[in-house]
């Protein structure tokens, strides 16, 4: 087994799904967490960009290789340890759901986290809560249900990157909407609990360091 070293910020953000995949696989990894304050200095230690290939985090280092881009890394870990889907078509379905969950979540970062103008921020929040998020959740509920009734996982009959991505991201979506936002989506709500109850994931959730994502509101 190679020694894996994941470097990301102190947040859950774009790194947590990778940590969760390692946890689900029962694979040890070095979980390096960098504060926003320390990140510029860390970049300076690598002027040739041999590690921080695209000047961003996360990166995954192992056996002399470096991978960047959070979903490329996550998919690598998923493929290595059996969380990616079993056939090309299953993998494609997993990828589709991962992309859709990302689409639902990433505007939150652009439009809320980075938006300075309070009025624009509020207006966007309203659109998000009342239109965008329900649209995404409706589509995801439908896809989940189409997989044998929806009482298992998104794709095939075991947990994949898609389920883990959804369970992780939905916390942030819920935080920015309301705690009962999944009440209209019973299969999705049950899926989130199901993922979090998987023994290795439950163990990770219990022991992971505190991540201050939820302070950025």
């Amino acid at each position: 087994m190679p020694k894996y070293k994941l470097t990301y910020l102190v947040f859950r953000g774009r790194g947590e799904v990778i940590r969760l995949l390692f946890a689900a696989a029962g694979v040890e990894f070095e979980d390096v967490r960098v504060t926003l304050k320390d990140w510029p200095a860390m970049k300076e230690t690598d002027p040739e960009r041999k590690r921080f290939l695209f000047n961003q985090l996360p990166i995954l280092e192992f056996d002399g290789h470096v991978l960047a881009q959070s979903h490329a890394i996550a998919r690598y870990v998923a493929n290595e340890f059996g969380f990616a889907g079993n056939t090309n078509l299953e993998k494609a379905k997993v990828d589709m759901i991962v992309s859709a969950v990302e689409d639902a979540y990433s505007p939150l970062v652009t439009n809320v986290w980075y938006e300075k103008d309070k009025a624009r921020k509020e207006a966007w929040f309203t659109e998000f809560r009342e239109t965008l998020l329900p649209k995404s959740l409706t589509a995801l509920e439908k896809l989940l249900t189409a997989n044998g009734g929806g009482d298992g996982f998104f794709v095939g009959d075991s947990v994949t990157f898609a389920d883990i991505m959804f369970a992780d991201r939905v916390d942030l979506l819920v935080f920015h909407s309301s705690p009962d936002v999944l009440d209209g989506y019973p299969k999705l709500k049950a899926l989130k609990s199901r993922v979090e109850a998987l023994p290795k994931i439950a163990e990770w959730i219990k022991k992971r360091p505190y991540a201050p994502d939820f302070e950025f509101h």
Binding site: N55, N79, L89, V98
Partner: protein, 207 residues
């Protein structure tokens, strides 16, 4: 061979890489281009999983959504994805980096305000330089950079890169002059016979 229908608007944008994969693989498909006026009715039909395009309909039985999921599926099916998990991850990395190029260009293209547009272009050139410098390095690290971005044969990373750099005139037409290996790669991609044939016969679009 499955029956494929690729559904999108009559633009390159988020479907062109998949069209290029089909071309490079020599695989037949129906290249459906939905007119803007037709789209509301199409969307309301409920056959698009997320109410968006592109979508890939496979054998009339399953509709796959999300452009990268589609591209990766086709690349995996037809040997253009990289030969092992590590190569596939490096290919993916390039795909995501190219997304940053696409989004930057798309935002510039659709900006109506001329002053804002000029500002966005100036900002983006700096960002594009940073991305291209990193990609040039990656290419050179792959056995000197006279082949492809990952491994020793064409992958959809090379196709995606080519498709995104077709947008260079929107921010700096000559930008690849500073990145000789990337420039040669783009030319190499366009000279692959199946790609050259596609570039010649495809509909001409603004974006």
């Amino acid at each position: 061979m499955p029956q494929y229908r690729l559904m999108y608007f009559n633009i390159r944008a988020r479907a062109e890489t998949s069209r290029m994969i089909f071309a490079a693989a020599g695989v037949e498909y129906e290249d459906v281009r939905v007119a803007r006026e037709q789209w509301p009715a199409e969307k309301a039909s409920g056959k698009y999983p997320f109410g968006q395009m592109p979508c890939l309909e496979i054998d009339g039985k399953f509709t796959l959504a999300q452009s990268r999921a589609i591209g990766r599926y086709l690349a995996n099916e037809y040997g253009l994805a990289g030969k092992d998990n590590l190569e596939k991850a490096k290919v993916d990395m390039v795909i995501y980096v190219c997304e940053d190029i696409y989004v930057g260009v798309r935002n510039i293209f659709f900006e109506k305000d001329e002053t804002k547009k000029a500002e966005m272009k100036a900002d983006f050139v700096v960002k594009a330089d940073s991305i291209l410098a990193a990609l040039e390095k990656l290419l050179i690290a792959n056995n000197g950079g006279n082949g492809y971005l990952v491994g020793d044969s064409l992958t959809w990373a090379d196709l995606e890169f080519f498709v995104r750099m077709e947008y260079a005139p929107f921010f700096n037409a000559a930008i690849l002059d500073q990145y000789p290996k990337l420039k040669a790669l783009a030319e190499r991609v366009s000279s692959v016979p199946e790609i050259a044939a596609w570039l010649k016969k495809r509909p001409k679009t603004d974006f």
